[in-house]
Symmetry: C2
Subunit: 338 residues, 2 copies
DNA sequence: ATGAAAGCGCTAACAA
DNA sequence: TTGTTAGCGCTTTCAT
């Protein structure tokens, strides 16, 4: 490797001490203008840049945040990542991205790997397996080390850290209300995420509204694998005279709508469809899908802001109270509803 | 911050020297079994983990690779990232992900930021702006420092580094051939990426085939913004009696198909549609979209393999010849073609 | 079998 | 105004 220029070399060439060079580079007022200029000149000439590793080691500060995502092929998480990245880079931080692939083991490994002075803090959403097993000690350990964590979307009440969540229950309440208001009586809720906290909340919201509305029934259809179970959805729609579908995740709504299309139902006249996650699918489906937008980018940006704020107002003594920010959703009306 | 355990502390507590502890942890044969055991025991007790920063600084090796992506909301890049991540984590590397947002400036900044001992190498796809401006010195500088780069998908011939590319020209040739073979005569090529190397190659391939086939015509429709120009696509399809569409990017095909749907055309009977990028859109469109799969995950994994191989067989003396790997595409037949 | 010491590149308190 | 020194946590060569 072509040797990177170091302070040492600059100092040698300038006949100055290392510390004088270091201070000059920071325009320290105790150094003479003349020296400062000489130093800058040579530094520029060699395109000197401080070794980030050494600086981090010295300052115990990496300016890096670790991001753990359950998956990346999911548009929602991709958007959140984008939001985090934008905010972080704006403020001079970079991010290390790890994909846990919904696995507890990978989550644990990544966390350990990064917890040894590699990052200043974490932003993460729990993996599916972690939520099912409810094993959370790894997070508690990190917090004991006073490394801040911000959880988003898939969070746990048992971990006392900052959180940014989507108001999932309220979101599905409003979605169901909208369906009822536009005349739907027999609503199906299709979901592949019954296991997850967010899936449960969304279902609860739907049930709440239906239970307090006369003449409307709700049917649940849990699905493990959308592609493998298309037939199941097909017969479900036909046999139950469904007139509206709420998909609790991005793909569920799209798949349901396509099946309805295929069966010859008119959308939205005969069946209305609402989905969660305002991703590519919603925008490019036919007809365009009415969705609950979780404002994923904003969510990511908020999580980053929370973390950075915590990192920069380092208040180790005062017991910091963890806070939870709730990001409001909005129902984006398109062509799949009346 | 709760102090992390260091070698120093372990050594103090064990009444050993730092170096003995360090060696013991590595099971160095020159240390007695007994000592090794004592050390391991205490290290486990404290859950000692070496400080990654210090190790990297010492070894001039970070086990981290920098990944620069033009965007992340594009399914193709998300898949590539997934592929890279899988391969890298399997081999004990982690990745720092940066999103250049198609901007030359951000690309440059990230590259500089990471080029100072933060990463062992780079995997990247050129930003759109970089390709348009054709400014490539930042890459050349990095290579001079003998930091390896692997470019993928959007590459430049002017930079002498390893590359993994998709056989775009061949891919669109095969797509067009398929359309012709199934009876299409009037083919539209719709693209939002005419500026990019890959967009040009895909167009060339299409033109090649059409020019050597009698009775078939091809019309190009460049689009800046799909959502804003739906009307344009609409009238284009109607006025030109198009019977097949090749979308050069993921969304173009989906949008074209939905417009055709809306206009009442039967797909694929009256209009066949093929798209690029086998993403979510293709799988969940109606009808399901026939697409060129670029095997993005594989591409990412290949890029990672190439980089890691280069990193681990450190051959600084021998002039390493840059190689280019071409990933074959496949045409995935679904319901939007005959 | 164990330890001392130098050094990776940088910062910062303290001396001169 | 400039320089000396110690130290961040670790590895490694060279004593002992």
């Amino acid at each position: 490797m072509r040797k990177k220029v170091t302070l040492k070399q600059l100092s040698k060439e300038l006949n100055l001490s290392i510390s004088t060079v270091s201070k000059s580079l920071k325009n320290d007022p105790e150094i003479s203008k003349k020296t400062i200029n000489r130093v800058h000149e040579l530094a520029n000439f060699y395109n000197y840049k401080p070794n980030a590793l050494a600086v981090s080691l010295k300052n115990s500060k990496t300016n890096t945040i670790g991001v753990l995502l359950p998956e990346i092929l999911n548009h929602f998480y991709a958007k959140v990542l984008f939001g985090i990245e934008q905010e972080a880079s704006k403020r001079g931080y970079r991010i290390v991205t790890c994909i846990t692939d919904e696995s507890y083991k990978k989550e644990l490994e990544y966390l350990e790997m990064l917890n040894h002075s590699s990052v200043d803090g974490f932003i993460l959403a729990l993996s599916q397996e972690t939520q099912i097993l409810n094993k959370l000690d790894h997070f508690k350990d990190i917090l004991k080390d006073e490394i801040p964590i911000v959880m988003f979307d898939r969070v746990s009440e048992e971990v006392d850290c900052d959180k940014v969540i989507v108001d999932d229950k309220d979101a599905s309440k409003r979605a169901i209300k909208y369906l009822i208001d536009t005349g739907s009586k027999k609503i199906a809720v299709i979901s592949t995420i019954f296991d997850l906290s967010v899936g449960k909340l969304r279902l609860e919201g739907a049930l709440d509204i239906v239970s307090q509305t006369k003449g409307v029934t709700l049917m649940e259809l849990p699905i493990k694998n959308l592609e493998a179970e298309e037939k199941k959805i097909e017969s479900f729609l036909k046999n139950n005279h469904i007139d509206a579908v709420l998909g609790l995740d991005e793909a569920a709504a799209a798949v349901a709508m396509n099946i309805a299309n295929k069966l010859g139902y008119k959308i939205p006249q005969e069946i209305s469809v609402i989905g969660f996650t305002d991703g590519l699918l919603a925008k490019h489906s036919y007809p365009k899908l009415t969705t609950v937008s979780q404002h994923a980018e904003k969510l990511g940006a908020s999580a980053a802001q929370m973390l950075l704020e915590r990192l920069e107002n380092n208040v180790p003594k005062i017991k910091y109270k963890a806070k939870t920010e709730i990001v409001k959703t909005s129902l984006i009306l398109r062509d799949s509803t009346k």
